[in-house]
Amino acid sequence: MTKDECKQVVLDIIAEIAPDEDLSDVKGEVALREQLDLDSMDFLDIVMELRKQHSIEVPEADYVQLASLDSCAEYLTPKFNALV
């Protein structure tokens, strides 16, 4: 999985949990919470969907890694590739 593919996986999850949001121009380097109406429960939803849909575990100490699309890709891509 490439980092761009990983970003798309995260965007697909956000589309499910925040269906009112326009995700057409989410900037990779900007914190997701600064661009989208997401709260702490939504981030828990992202963690849960990564677990359910992709068997990816994100320990609580690493939640900060999900702050932006870029940091998500940086953190999650190796985890996805380790699954294969």
């Binding site: 949990i17 925040a18 269906p19 009112d20 429960m41 828990l44 849960m48 677990r51 359910k52």
Partner: protein
């Protein structure tokens, strides 16, 4: 101490056969039901009353995903009631507005969903949703309204089995009279059709209705009735002290003049006609009126073989020799809306103050002689000589009884 008079100034509702009071009333006068077959987890198809209100009218899709159906029904009804009362949310005194929502139960739906969810993951509880607790706390439906309206007064539910719709209204009235709030949004809601446990419980009890025609299944007072059709729905009202309502020139649907809540203390599920009669008499006493002053008795009868007979016994005793008292029932159209039943059934009768029409109990092909009450209106609407007062019965499991009396408003 003279208590303030409390009046109804707005109605918001969703029922299986209407999403506004006007639409609901039209359906009742036309004999139009709202029962269909739905797929129920583990059970296959069951009969249910399903509402089709536009949930996104007042909620974002994310709020619908995170919240509960009971919350969504409550929000829709609260917003519709406010609009009907001619009030925008920003006109409310936020800290002086109370929200009182009656519920039969809450949390079954959400808990069943989560158990099913983790069953897909070998019952590993790490897949249990973090939304579970805010969804299942008892105050959820009222709390979701406070979040949606951004009001800061008391917002809580009143758990009272299937008497809850009346109890929500009674609570709202009392809080206005105590001066705890200046404006109340009150009534009852139900999301129970999303819980297989509710259906399975009634089925095990031998109290779940079945009929090849869904809209013939709920048939109170008919000799062939065979149980309850479970429904969802809600009816919330805006309540104000009379002086406040008059000061702003509000439309007044009616005045709550009497109520009574009591308990059978005899059985978990079986009703007690003696206590039901006592409850109706208590409401009449509080209202300071006689049985003959009531022109419509809206019965609770759920179409169970024994329950209908027992309520009829109670009504027959209290309303003996009342030739101008009409008796009806609304569950033949919409099934049993559980926590919403009392408030929805009252709403269906409120327009009678204007048009004098009494909507009938439908699906009575063969009236059970034991339910043959004088004044029972069956199958066709009846034009009453006058309708000045309605007594609304609503009873529930564990022997909770409620009776609420609304009078045509008069200075």
């Amino acid at each position: 101490m003279a208590l303030s008079r409390v009046v109804i100034t707005g109605v918001g509702l969703t029922s299986p056969n209407g999403n506004t009071l006007e639409e609901f009333r039209r359906s009742l006068l036309k004999g139009k039901g709202g029962i269909s077959r739905i797929d129920m987890r583990y059970m296959g198809q069951v009969l249910a009353g399903v509402c089709d209100f536009e949930a996104t009218k007042y909620q974002k899709r994310k709020e619908l995903r995170v919240g509960t159906r009971a919350g969504s029904i409550s929000i829709y009804c609260a917003r519709e009631a406010l609009a009907d009362a001619g009030l925008a949310v920003d006109q409310l005194d936020s800290k002086r507005t109370g929200i009182y929502v009656g519920t039969t139960e809450h949390g079954n739906v959400e808990t069943e969903n989560e158990v099913y969810n983790i069953s897909q993951f070998d019952y590993d509880t790490k897949f249990w949703s973090h939304h579970h607790n805010p969804r299942t706390v008892s105050n959820n439906p009222a709390g979701e309204v406070s979040l949606n309206l951004k009001v800061h007064g008391p917002a809580y539910t009143i758990g009272a089995a299937c008497a809850a719709g009346n109890l929500g209204l009674i609570q709202g009235m009392q809080m206005l009279q105590l001066g705890e709030v200046d404006f109340a949004i009150a009534g009852g809601v139900s999301e129970s059709i999303r819980s297989f446990g509710i259906f399975a419980g009634f089925k095990s009890q031998g109290a779940l209705a079945e009929h090849e025609d869904p809209n013939k299944a709920s048939r109170p007072f008919d000799v062939d009735r065979n149980g309850i059709v479970v429904s969802e729905g809600g009816a919330l009202y805006t309540l104000e002290r009379l002086e406040d309502a008059q000061a702003r020139g509000a439309k007044i649907y009616g005045e709550i003049v009497g109520y009574k809540i009591n308990s059978d203390a005899t059985d978990y599920v079986l009703p007690n006609p003696e206590r039901q009669a006592e409850c109706m008499r208590g409401a009449l006493e509080k209202a300071g009126i006689q049985p003959s002053d009531i022109h419509i008795v809206s019965t609770h009868a759920t179409a169970t073989p024994l329950g209908d007979i027992q309520e009829c016994e109670a009504v027959r005793e209290v309303f003996a020799n009342c030739p101008d008292t009409h008796i009806n029932n609304t569950k033949g159209y919409i099934g049993h809306a559980m926590g919403a039943a009392g408030s929805l059934e009252l709403a269906g009768n409120l327009p009678s103050f204007e048009d004098g029409l009494v909507h009938p109990t439908i699906n009575v092909d063969n009236l059970d002689p034991k339910c043959d009450l004088p004044g029972l209106v069956i199958n066709e609407p009846k034009q009453a000589k006058r309708v000045d007062a309605i007594l609304n019965n609503s009873f529930g499991m564990l022997g909770i009884n409620s009776a609420l009396i609304i009078k045509r408003f008069s200075n």
